[in-house]
């Protein structure tokens, strides 16, 4: 599903954040990527959805060669990925229902189907009663639940989450973990989560990677 071979990532010419990094993530795996602040966790997952380009090395995500990927291929790849951001990245001028409908509409689903799926997911994240609310009318935990619902809406092949519970209270964090576990176990979605704190007694099989000094390690 995801293969990286001796990749180098950087925002400027002088300093590589990921150096000679290699990883292999199989289909339907649940992966945690850990490491200290500034270690390059977020940079690594940004490269998975093409937000940052490779300086050197080779990376394949769902069969797409990431180095020199064309805009149309990148669009196709992103339509098969659900992304959860630490800062939620919801569109504030839209209702939460419309936010969840976004990936469905981009994937060509009709308004009716998108709406139905959005309502279904809102009930899963226990926010049905707030469907007409705008994101800035909700708490951080509620916003992240909406972001998870949006990431799941179009039944993606991969979910990439950057510190999805970093700013959440325990209840919201638990809801988010349960949704991600369910997506992996029941829907067979490959999940890659960046977190500096792997939850205890996670309950499903997972693999853990860590980044230190720009180098990716497998945590045994």
């Amino acid at each position: 599903m995801i293969t990286a071979k001796e990749i180098y990532l950087s925002y400027d010419k002088n300093r590589f954040i990921i150096k000679k990094g290699s990883l292999h993530i199989r289909d339907k795996e649940f992966i945690f990527i850990g490491g200290n602040s500034g270690s390059g966790k977020s940079t690594l997952i940004k490269s998975l959805y093409g937000d940052i380009g490779l300086k050197h090395g080779e990376m394949f995500v769902d069969g797409h060669k990431m180095k020199g990927i064309s805009s149309s291929d990148l669009r196709k790849l992103r339509r098969d990925i659900g992304i959860i951001f630490q800062d939620y990245k919801l569109i504030n001028e839209w209702t939460i229902e419309e936010n969840i409908m976004l990936p469905l509409k981009i994937n060509g689903y009709s308004n009716d189907i998108s709406k139905k799926q959005a309502l279904n997911l809102l009930s899963h994240v226990k926010l049905s009663h707030r469907k007409g609310y705008k994101p800035n009318q909700l708490s951080g935990g509620e916003q992240q639940r909406v972001a998870v619902a949006r990431a799941l809406a179009h039944n993606p092949k991969i979910i990439i989450a950057d510190e999805p519970t970093g700013n959440l209270d325990d209840y919201s964090a638990e809801v988010v973990w349960n949704l991600l576990k369910g997506a992996n176990e029941q829907l067979g979605i490959t999940v890659v989560v960046v977190t500096h704190r792997v939850p205890k007694n996670f309950g499903i099989k997972f693999r853990q990677l860590s980044i230190e000094d720009g180098i990716i390690y497998e945590v045994s």
Partner: protein, 272 residues
């Protein structure tokens, strides 16, 4: 309030440009109508020792020949008949050259007139050419100058309007940057992501069109208030409203859409 202000920043330059364009269309029509009116009354007289082959004379100084009328010798002789004997008249008939009146399709400028005179003089049999340059119409020249000035003003305003519109669209892209980025992370095309900016610009173009259309209709219905009646007898100042509105609408949409795509292309290059 903020969005109203930002849409006004788009509408005002576009409306100013469209008004100048409407004035330019109006003056062009007035000049063309006047040109047609005076070109019907205008002709060049040519005197030739041998008959001219009309089929060879199609164009002078880039202006097409409408028709060539042969002036009958009898009409000329008729005026002198009383003072001449029959023998002299017969001799005169044989010796008289051929007279022609050339009508052109368009009314020539003074420079074109000189050029036409030179071209006709090249014909070996032509003895004399009368272009009546002294009678050449001064109103027409004045109208031509006004038309050129308005064309220059229109081009200048067009350039300024496009710059201001492009700046406003850039501001809209900046305002919607987060939304566009989120949509693109989900695999949307740049066109889909920028949909709200495009909608805003098209709305602005339509509002501008309606403002200018309203002004054109208002002006058309009150022409006598704006232009004195005396002027209306000299030049045809009637507006062809439907034709003008179509042209204004097409220009309004064209400028807005092409400016959006220009800015969009630049945005894509910067953010991809």
């Amino acid at each position: 309030m903020k969005s109203l202000k930002s849409i006004f920043s788009f509408i005002i330059p576009l409306t100013a440009m469209l008004i100048t364009f409407a004035i330019f269309l109006f003056t062009t029509k007035v000049v063309e109508d006047y040109k047609l009116k005076i070109s019907n009354d205008y002709s060049i007289v040519v005197v030739s020792s041998l008959p001219l082959i009309k089929d060879n004379l199609n164009e002078f100084a880039g202006i097409k020949v409408k028709n060539i009328v042969t002036l009958e010798k009898n009409d000329i002789i008729k005026n002198m008949k009383e003072n001449l004997s029959a023998k002299s008249i017969e001799l005169l008939r044989k010796k008289l050259p051929f007279f022609y009146k050339i009508h052109l399709e368009n009314y020539p400028t003074t420079l074109q007139l000189k050029e036409i005179k030179e071209e006709i003089k090249q014909i070996k049999t032509v003895k004399k050419v009368e272009i009546f340059s002294k009678n050449h119409n001064q109103i027409f020249l004045l109208l031509l100058i006004i038309q050129k000035i308005i064309a220059i003003v229109f081009v200048v305003i067009l350039i300024y309007a496009v710059i201001i519109i492009a700046k406003q669209i850039k501001i809209w892209f900046y305002e919607h940057h987060e939304k566009i980025t989120i949509m693109r992370f989900h695999g949307a095309s740049i066109l889909y992501s920028a949909g709200s900016v495009i909608k805003q610009a098209v709305l602005g173009a339509i509002i501008s069109f309606f403002i200018v259309a309203g002004l054109i209709i208002l002006l058309n219905e009150n022409l006598s208030l704006v232009f004195p009646l005396e002027l209306q007898s000299v030049v045809n100042i009637k507006l062809s409203v439907q034709e003008e509105l179509i042209k204004v609408f097409v220009l309004s949409l064209f400028i807005s859409v092409s400016t959006i795509f220009g800015v969009l292309f630049k945005y894509k290059l910067k953010n991809d």
